[in-house]
């Protein structure tokens, strides 16, 4: 008899699963490497594969009618999965475009396999529905924030969200890219980043932003960041005893 060590995952949804569910899921997952800017789902196209993020992050990009480029409406890192609409319908199409924003890796699974799995695995189902709830909150908060708050605060919030999803304090980002994601001209990002830099909250050189003072950046961001964080914590608290799957059978 050979004993296999249980697989280990960096993805927070997968790593919270009980061993039995993990073992069922493991053969259905394929590790894939992500390159920057890679398209994962195209707007209007059927979601054939979902991605459990292991490293790096993806963003959801929405397109305003008539605009030349889309804006970011949500970030998904190792706390989540890219392809939530499949939870609701295995034939779901993606409304937004999903692209890799920070290179890394993910565990890929077919939409059908995911649907079969959530029917069979109660902890996975609860975890994914919780993650979907948080993702919906994040998208809603981003829309509210974008319409009400100053670029400086929105940028600080975006940097915090990105920082949450990477290892270390350095983010490989150009100002041009940040401007596109935030739906502003680059000159605006130049001024806002310079203000954060003057306050010694971030450092920057071409193509790179370093988070120098995380608590200071949190204070500089609008309350929208904290709102989503608090909501995510409340959702997590509501998912009963992950260590005791019997709770979930009910």
């Amino acid at each position: 008899v050979t004993f296999h060590a249980p697989p280990t995952y960096s993805n927070e949804l997968l790593s919270a699963l009980p061993p039995a569910e993990m073992a069922r899921l493991h053969p259905l997952l394929t590790r894939v490497h992500w390159v920057n800017g890679q398209g994962l789902h195209e707007a209007g196209e059927r979601i054939a594969q979902v991605f459990f993020v292991e490293e790096g992050f993806a963003c959801l990009v929405a397109q305003a009618e008539g605009a030349s480029s889309g804006v970011e409406v949500g970030l998904i890192g190792r706390e989540g999965m890219v392809g939530y609409p499949v939870l609701l319908d295995p034939k779901a199409a993606s409304y937004n475009r999903a692209i890799v924003q920070m290179p890394g890796s993910a565990l890929r699974m077919s939409a059908e396999a995911l649907r079969d799995s959530i029917d069979a695995l109660p902890v996975l189902r609860r975890m994914l529905f919780g993650a979907l709830e948080v993702s919906m909150a994040q998208v809603a908060q981003t829309a509210a924030c974008d319409s009400q708050h100053r670029l400086l605060h929105r940028l600080a919030r975006w940097l915090l969200m990105a920082h949450d999803r990477v290892d270390g304090d350095e983010l490989a980002l150009t100002q041009e890219f940040l401007a596109t994601m935030l739906g502003v001209r680059r000159s605006g990002v130049t001024i806002a980043l310079a203000s954060l830099q003057a306050a010694r909250l971030v450092g920057q050189r071409r193509g790179r932003v370093t988070i120098c003072d995380r608590p200071g950046l949190e204070a500089a961001a609008c309350g929208c960041y904290g709102r989503v964080q608090a909501f995510a914590a409340a959702v997590a608290a509501r998912i009963p005893g992950i260590s005791d799957p019997a709770d979930l059978a009910a």
């Binding site: 001209r185 000159s187 130049t190 001024i191 310079a194 203000s195 003057a198 193509g207 500089a220």
Partner: protein, 116 residues
């Protein structure tokens, strides 16, 4: 040769930005094909008498006229309080240093308005 694309999303027409390069259609004995066009890099420095905001990335543009147009749009963009903040922009100007001579000096950014 038509006007180069103004944004990364503009891939129509005779020229546009693909993979960070600008392409134009050329037609000669070898047939019609796209060919990369080298464009000058312009840096847009916003300054007043006390300091400046450095442009660390620069922008590739076809000519100085396009650079002038971009500067005008940038300034209008920054005048919106939600973008440029509630600071007074009196005395500030956006300038494009002479082509090819990027300002190498790094000076402290004028602390205009706290990030709060």
């Amino acid at each position: 040769v038509s006007q180069a694309g103004a944004s990364a999303g503009d891939k129509q027409g005779g020229a546009g930005l693909i993979c960070g390069l600008t392409w134009r259609r050329v037609s000669d004995g070898l047939g019609e094909r796209p060919e990369p066009v080298a464009m000058p890099q312009y840096y847009f420095v916003l300054s007043n008498k006390d300091g400046f905001f450095e442009d660390i990335e620069g922008t590739e543009l076809p000519d100085l006229a396009a650079a002038r147009q971009k500067a005008a749009k940038d300034v209008a963009h920054l005048r919106q309080p939600r973008i440029g903040g509630r600071r007074s922009w009196a005395g500030w100007a956006m300038q494009v240093p002479r082509r090819g001579r990027r300002r190498a000096v790094r000076a402290a950014v004028h602390p205009v308005g706290s990030p709060r």
